[in-house]
């Protein structure tokens, strides 16, 4: 509403409002002066398609926030599960035709996962957006690699047309403005954004968006427990109006990471010791690096000799960035990188297809993570027959993939896919059966980098938001967390569905300039020095002009506006039954008032009037009825309170026991 108020004031600059202002703080910023303010959070698309209990979230994130008249898009993700138009967010929600530039002030990408940035080239190049796109340095570096990889798979392998091109990715990246941690970036005069560390993956950030005194924090994906290569998310007590938090694990409280790590290492160690081979199917970025670090340090510590391989591909390039962005990693890596960069793996080497047949123990990281195709599947087939070997699934597997099957304990795999049959024939000549005996050990190990319910609560405690908004999770689970948040913190919590808009009313403080003269005058009136804790009432004139608010003395306001000062006086007649003569009545009134109004200056003037402060009281008797006296009261606007009190007091009449003197 304030914005509307302000708009009006621009049209009528001469409007002078007389208002009582509470000087609340030493800087005299006013909190209540101009009513409430709306801040809209439009949630046009939020992820809702989640596979339960999984580490692989396949949703798409795209949130529109409008705050203080600014529109910001948070993340621009795609859905991995769809191959049609549904995979990208519906930008027609913003505008039916034309470009998005004029509707959006900026776009912020929290991290490089495709469900957070996959639709970015589509939006900026195909729909059309020329404004700034903000992301952190590592995200900016790694994001194009992933987009390019994604494009290759969709266009080159699946043969789709009408998809963004390499050039489009490059053009899109040119629009990116990099962010540093804790750096406040001024998007325009009013809008500023600031990034905080979020853990999760390299370069993941939480963003604080601020317009004036209103602010929103968007967490993206974050992790409150540190892991082997990243630290924990952190935010200061910024008290945003809304905290938009992911809630992937809204109903989970996880066990300590150490047990999982220990289990993982123990399993690998045992297998390697008895001469077996370990296959770890991973996705190229994120968890893979964590596991690499884990194994690398373990190998180092335990002085182990068995080789570790990493099937190459885009990892090589991405690992390079991991080496570069040391400041974004955890304490241990940051502290020791001078001696040795932990990402310069000593024991982990690039994998070659032929190594799979080498004798002796080895550990291989291979993509993809769900064992549905590619190198990991090939290696799996080679090793599946030996019970000495082991496969460790570090993440969730979608139904239908081989990963899912073996996790569920299937011992015989039917290879229905024609392509795989051919592969089997190729690698094992002379052996044409279509089923594969699974003898190797299958282990499941969950390494996920999302905050659990406790972590989310911890973040809320850190940031102390006024309202909560949960996204990026299942509705049923969010419900639980929402209740918990409302109960523990007594703040409002929202969980909008896709396309739904949540509006939050904020109470912004509106700064008002006060003239020094007025302030000094107010000080001179006495009283103790201003106590910062207590509001104090003062008189002044609020001028709203040229987008600024000023509190000045009435005289100065009049002078500035070139107006004459008009005195406003109220007069009032009160009829009174009194048998005494006029002067007697007056003196009776005088004594009455004197007894009632203690602490006021009351004067009995010789010209037949009584003055109470600036209020004048006169007595006249009507000609017809001498006992009915008419009291004339007159007071100025400023003494309205006292004047109306007097009139009601006198209307009650004078007490009988009063002496005339």
């Amino acid at each position: 509403m304030a914005r509307e108020v302000r708009c009006k004031t621009v049209e009528e600059p001469s409007l002078v409002a007389l208002a009582k202002t509470h000087a609340a703080t030493p800087s005299f910023k006013n909190k209540t002066a101009s009513g409430s303010h709306l801040s809209n959070v439009h949630l046009c698309i939020s992820s809702s398609c989640f596979l339960s209990g999984a580490g692989q979230d396949v949703g798409r994130s795209c949130i529109l926030v409008s705050i203080g008249g600014k529109n910001i898009m948070l993340d621009c993700g795609m859905h991995m599960g769809f191959n049609d138009d549904r995979r990208f967010p519906d930008f027609s929600y913003i505008t039916q035709q034309g470009r998005l530039t004029e509707f959006l002030d900026c776009v912020i990408i929290s991290h490089f996962h495709l469900d957070h940035c996959g639709a970015l080239p589509y939006m900026s190049e195909m729909v059309g957006y020329d404004g700034p796109i903000y992301m952190t340095h590592p995200t900016k570096a790694i994001c194009p690699i992933l987009l390019e990889d994604f494009r290759k798979i969709t266009v080159d392998k699946k043969g789709e047309t009408n998809f963004f091109t390499s050039q489009m990715i490059k053009d899109c990246m040119k629009k990116v403005v990099p962010l540093n941690l804790h750096q406040t970036v001024q998007v325009d005069d009013e809008l500023e954004i600031k990034a905080y560390y979020a853990g999760h993956v390299l370069g993941a950030a939480m963003v604080q968006i601020k317009v004036g005194s209103e602010s929103v924090v968007y967490t993206g994906d974050y992790n409150m427990t540190p892991d082997r290569h990243l630290g924990a998310a952190w935010i200061d007590k910024c008290r945003p109006d809304i905290l938009i938090s992911e809630s992937t694990y809204a109903t989970t409280i996880r066990d300590s990471k150490r047990c999982r790590e220990r289990d993982f290492l123990k399993k690998v160690h045992e297998t390697v010791e008895r001469g077996g081979k370990v296959l770890i199917p991973v996705f190229a970025l994120g968890r893979a690096q964590e596991l690499c670090i884990l194994l690398e340090t373990f190998w180092e510590r335990m002085n182990m000799k068995a080789p570790i391989y990493f099937s190459t591909g885009l990892t090589e390039k991405a690992n390079h960035y991991y080496k570069l962005f040391i400041t974004w990693t955890n304490q241990k890596i940051r502290k020791t990188f001078v001696q040795r960069n932990m990402f310069e793996f000593k024991h982990i080497k690039a994998f070659d297809r032929s190594y799979a047949d080498n004798p002796g123990p080895m550990v291989v990281f291979a993509t993809p993570g769900m064992l549905h195709a590619g190198q990991s599947l090939q290696i799996f087939k080679k090793w599946a027959g030996n019970e000495k070997n082991m496969i460790i699934m570090p993440g969730y597997c979608v139904q239908g993939t081989i990963g899912h099957k073996i996790l569920n304990g299937q011992k015989k795999l039917e290879m229905e896919n024609r392509q795989t049959v051919i592969e089997i024939e190729r690698c094992e000549p002379g052996c044409c059966h279509l089923s594969l005996e699974v003898k190797l050990q299958v282990e499941y190990m969950s390494f996920s980098a999302h905050a659990d319910a406790k972590g989310i609560m911890q973040l809320i405690r850190m940031a102390e938001p006024r309202n909560m908004l949960l996204v990026h999770g299942e509705a049923k689970k969010m419900e639980f967390l929402k209740d918990k948040i409302e109960q523990e913190f007594t703040i409002n919590c929202f969980m909008p569905a896709n396309g739904e808009t949540t509006t939050v009313i904020t109470n912004p403080s509106v700064p008002v300039d006060i003239s020094l003269n007025l302030l000094k005058r107010e000080m001179a009136l006495g009283g103790p020095l201003p106590d910062p804790k207590k509001p104090r009432t003062m008189h002044g004139t609020l001028i709203m002009k040229d987008n600024s608010l000023r509190l000045v003395s009435p005289e100065q306001a009049l002078k500035e506006l070139g107006l004459n000062e008009h005195q406003l006086r109220f007069t009032c007649r009160v009829q009174l039954q009194d048998p005494h003569s006029d002067p007697d009545t007056l003196s009776r009134i005088y004594t009455h008032l004197k007894s009632v109004l203690k602490g006021y200056t009351i004067q009995h003037l010789p010209d037949g009037t009584v003055m109470v402060e600036s209020i004048v009281i006169k007595v006249s008797s009507s000609a017809e009825e001498p006992n009915t006296k008419v009291l004339l009261l007159s007071w100025s606007y400023q003494d309205e309170d006292l004047g109306s009190f007097l009139s009601t007091l006198l209307k009650k009449g004078l007490p009988s026991g009063l002496s005339s003197m």
């Binding site: 300590s256 499941y444 319910a453 405690r461």
Partner: protein
């Protein structure tokens, strides 16, 4: 001439003693002396602009500050317009007040005056800082303190935070600690000043976080100075825990802790319920909450503090390890719980199937408490923290708490074991140490042991050795555990052969602790077979020795075990008992005769009886009144022999026995020297016989240094006795010199020195003098006025007679005497292969040694290398080379660099450890409280080294360089 000299000596002493008294009046004179200050003043007057003036002041401050410079500085202060210059002057005054021999009281008035005119807040703050310095320099003067506090009180309401800060600091440092102080009727103290506490607590709510911090710190300072803080502050302090600023929160954590220690048992209500808890529990909960604070500084503080709250109730304590897991709103068991259940159900492996950790029962949504209220899971968070500082603090706190509560120790075991996998070695090491400390309270389960043992393969030697140490103290529950441990230790042995000693020692303790668990394993371990003879294992195999060590130690308290041994085992036993006697205990073997003496000692009461024996021997000695008594020598001889034997047999008393034996040997030497014929002979004739007595005196001297510095646990009494013997030895030397040398001249200086030593002895051991009445020194001191005046010749005569007549000084043993010892483990000295290197270049020799009962090894222990040509090098190891694996034990792992010119053939060098001592250092350390401290260095401190531990020979071969 000599008399004159004596006088001078005496005079010098008196002068030295009186010096401090003379200094006192000198201080006041100094103020009036115009000196450097005048120059400065002139300089300052010349300075045209503030920058110049600042330069002068900076220059002045950099040069050595003289006490008398104040005046000029203060004078200039009043005239100076520029704030920065005044600020610098104020800080200079503070600096001056700190310099020695300066009486800060003299400038107090001046400084206080400046407050009246000062307008600048920064300068005010600096002036207050100066006052703080002055106040701390004059801690006794009440009036000064009151004046300062008054000033602080006046400026507390200043608008500048720095001024308020300093005022609070002043109040904290100087505020009245004992509240009812006005009794003495000084009338100087305004009532407000008396109650610094409430005054300071008002500033807990200041708008500036720095002032809030200063207020809390001031309060803590008051507490440290002995003021009892009122409980009313508790609520305020708790509120400050939620402050926006980390330094406030950090200080508040301390404050809450202090209060919880002051009023642990008082009851506080829980808000929003009718319940009440003890204050210490309440504060424990609140501090636990801070372990998940946003700032790591606060987290470290909180985690550390938790370790100091031992009075907390067990219920709250156990909550700190509690974390309810759930997945999709279903209750899930932690991995720890699962491991425990698996173990209980007897299943062998875990985690084979996917989703074996699948959540079971459904969780009541309303009952789940996501915000950890109270102490919930504080340590779970702390141990998983991002910063290793927090993790270490948490581990330490766990250790402290676990040591005080056995049930908590049991619970925290899983968590500590998990920490063995931390990414930072320091944390791993610390958690291993902690586990060792609490391991008396716990028994490891198999799965836990498994995790522990996995760390044995760590490439870091420290970690492995810490783990061995831990295993020495661990209790395990089943025979599988023993087998597992043995297996892993053997694996460790093959992977890291240098760990040999450590692994053997570890197995020794494992065997000792679990004889019954080892028993069923014996046939398997020794690979005996009921029907067949198995091949005899190789005796030199370290792994086989390891197994034998385990078995023999178990057999010690399990007599049935020996029946299972095969013949060669017995043979190996006798071999090992000889070669590794510290690892293999004496066993009662059937059909084998044993040295009766050996088995006799093993009785449980042997320590007491040995102690008794020691006492008896010493009391027998005490019957000797005079060393000249007939038979005294024989008695001494026998006793020394007894004591030495006792020391060998009873390791607990080795220190005490050795110590007394050495002392007695000194006495014996003295007696022998005095009974030489030479005393009766004419001076010219005795030169020949002299050699023996001189050698005796020299040896006595050496022995006294050993006595003083090699043994720890000595009390002042013993030190006095040792010094006494040393004086006797010196007197003997003096007498001998007098007899051999002609003329008086060389004697004078020697006599002088001796007298000085007597003097210093008297000073150092004033307390002990009554015990020394009948002794040599006692008698000598009786004559002391005469001594200082007499000629050297007379002195020698007196000494000679006193030496002869003086009684035998009894040795009172302190409770615990330990002899410092060192063993060089590496190099072993067994190698026949010379270490070859090119001459002129260096070769590094790894040295690994254990030191026992060495105090402050970082400074005292040195490595000496002796080359065959007599060259010797002394090398001081780096402080980082010393580790301390246990109390009174140190481990030196270092490298020494050898180099020599070319030799024609390989030769042995000797490596040994030295214990360096310096009498002045020790004197200072022991008597630093005495007023004579300043004089100590003057009396030529004796420095030297005592070789200790067996030297090791190393074969080296420097080859000529090839051109």
């Amino acid at each position: 001439m000599a008399a004159h000299l004596k006088k001078r000596v005496y005079e010098e002493f008196s002068k030295v003693v009186q010096l401090p008294q003379e200094e006192a009046p000198a201080k006041k004179l100094r103020l009036t002396k115009p000196s450097k200050s005048a120059a400065l003043h002139i300089d300052l007057c010349k300075a045209s602009n503030p920058t110049d003036a600042l330069q002068y002041l900076l220059h002045f401050a950099r040069s050595s500050v003289e006490a008398e410079s104040v005046e000029g500085v203060v004078q200039h202060y009043y005239k100076e317009q520029d704030n920065s210059v005044r600020l610098k002057i104020a800080s200079l005054i503070g600096l001056l007040s700190k310099t020695q021999n300066f009486n800060p009281e003299s400038i107090l008035d001046d400084t206080l005056n400046t407050f009246n005119t000062e307008k600048s807040h920064q300068v005010l703050a600096q002036l207050l800082d100066t006052l703080l310095v002055i106040g701390t320099q004059l801690p006794e003067s009440l009036i000064v303190r009151h004046r300062l506090i008054e000033v602080a009180y006046k400026h507390l309401s200043d608008t500048y935070f720095g001024v308020r800060n300093k005022c609070l600091q002043l109040l904290g440092c100087l505020g009245n600690v004992d509240t009812p102080l006005n009794k003495d009727g000084q009338g100087l103290v305004p009532a407000v000043i008396g109650d610094a506490q409430s005054l300071i607590s008002d500033y807990f709510a200041d708008q500036d976080p720095r002032v809030r911090t200063a207020a809390i710190k001031a309060m803590l300072q008051l507490h440290e100075r002995g003021l009892k803080i009122q409980q009313t502050i508790y609520d305020q302090a708790c509120q400050l825990l939620c402050d926006d600023y980390e330094q406030v929160r950090s200080a508040a954590v301390q404050m809450v802790w202090v209060l919880s220690q002051l009023y642990p048992e008082s009851i506080v209500p829980i808000p929003s319920s009718n319940e009440q808890v003890r204050l210490v529990d309440d504060s424990f909960g609140k501090i636990s909450h801070m372990v998940s604070d946003g700032s790591w500084v606060v987290r470290v503080q909180a985690a550390k503090t938790l370790g100091n709250m031992l009075q907390v109730s067990p219920h709250f304590l156990e909550q700190t390890l509690d974390k309810k897991l759930m997945s999709d709103l279903r209750r899930k068991r932690t991995a720890h719980e699962r491991a425990k259940e698996l173990y209980a159900s007897g299943e062998f492996s875990s985690g084979r199937k996917w989703a074996d950790d699948a959540p079971k029962e459904k969780v009541d949504t309303s009952a789940v408490n996501l915000i950890a209220s109270g102490a919930c899971g504080a340590f779970v968070h702390g141990l998983e923290d991002e910063m290793y500082e927090v993790r270490i603090a948490a581990v330490d706190a766990l250790s402290a708490l676990a040591q005080s509560s056995a049930s908590f120790a049991e619970k925290c075991l899983d968590f500590l074991v998990d920490m063995f996998n931390d990414e930072i070695e320091e944390v791993r090491l610390q958690s291993i140490h902690v586990l060792r400390q609490i391991s008396t309270n716990i028994t490891l389960r198999e799965d836990q042991l498994d995790t522990v043992l996995a760390v044995l393969e760590d490439s870091s030697r420290d970690i492995r050795e810490a783990l061995h140490e831990l295993l020495c103290f661990t209790n395990v529950s089943t025979k599988e555990c023993i087998q597992l441990a043995l297996l892993e230790l053997l694996k460790n042995l093959t992977k890291y052969p240098t760990d040999r000693n450590s692994v053997w020692k570890c197995l020794k303790f494992l065997g000792c602790r679990h004889p019954t668990l080892v028993l069923p394993l014996v046939p398997e371990l020794l690979s005996t077979h009921p029907y067949f003879h198995t091949p005899e294992p190789d005796m030199d195999d370290p792994a086989y020795i390891a197994v034998l060590v385990l078995v023999f130690n178990a057999a010690q308290s399990c007599p049935t075990m020996t029946a299972l041994f095969s013949d060669h085992t017995f043979r190996h036993y006798t071999y090992l008992r000889d070669s590794l006697s510290h690892l293999v205990p004496p066993l009662r073997l059937p059909g084998r005769t044993q040295a009766p003496g050996v088995s006799g000692i093993e009785g449980s009461g042997s320590v007491e009886s040995a102690q008794l024996f020691l006492q008896q021997s010493l009391s027998r000695i005490s019957t000797i009144h005079n060393l000249q008594d007939p038979g005294a020598q024989d008695l001494l001889n026998f006793t020394i022999r007894d004591l030495q034997r006792l020391g060998e047999l009873q390791t607990e008393l080795a220190g005490a026995a050795d110590f007394s034996a050495t002392y007695l040997r000194c006495q014996l030497l003295l007696t022998k020297a005095l009974q030489e014929k030479l005393w009766t002979m004419a001076v010219p004739l005795c030169l020949k016989h002299n050699a023996m007595a001189t050698a005796a005196a020299k040896q006595m001297l050496e022995e006294t240094y050993k006595l003083e510095f090699l043994y720890s646990g000595l009390e002042n009494r013993q030190v006095a006795t040792i010094h006494h013997v040393r004086l006797q030895a010196k007197a003997l030397q003096l007498v001998l010199t007098a007899r051999t040398r002609r003329g008086v001249e060389p004697l004078i200086s020697v006599c002088e020195k001796f007298l000085q030593e007597v003097e210093s002895f008297q000073r150092l051991f004033v307390v002990e003098l009554p015990h020394l009445q009948e002794s040599f020194v006692g008698k000598l001191l009786d004559l002391s006025p005469k001594l200082s005046a007499c000629k050297p010749g007379e002195l020698v005569k007196i000494l000679q007679t006193t030496l002869r007549q003086s009684g035998f000084l009894n040795l009172k043993l302190p409770k615990q005497v330990q002899r410092a010892s060192a063993t060089i483990i590496e190099p072993t000295g067994e190698s026949d292969n010379p270490l070859r290197f090119t001459s002129g270049l260096v070769v590094a020799l790894d040295i690994d040694a254990t030191l026992e009962h060495v105090q402050d090894p970082h400074n005292t222990v040195k490595v000496q290398v002796l080359y065959p040509d007599g060259q010797s090098h002394v090398i001081q190891p780096k402080p980082g080379d010393f580790r301390s694996p246990g109390p009174h034990r140190h481990r030196l792992i270092t490298q020494v660099y050898l180099s020599h010119s070319a030799w024609t053939e390989a030769c042995q060098i000797e490596v040994r450890l030295l214990l360096a001592y310096s009498s002045s250092r020790l004197c200072k350390a022991v008597w630093s409280d005495s007023s004579t401290e300043g004089l100590q260095p003057a009396e030529g401190a004796t420095e030297g080294t005592i070789p200790f531990g067996k030297p090791v020979k190393v074969f080296i071969m420097p080859k000529p360089a090839r051109r």
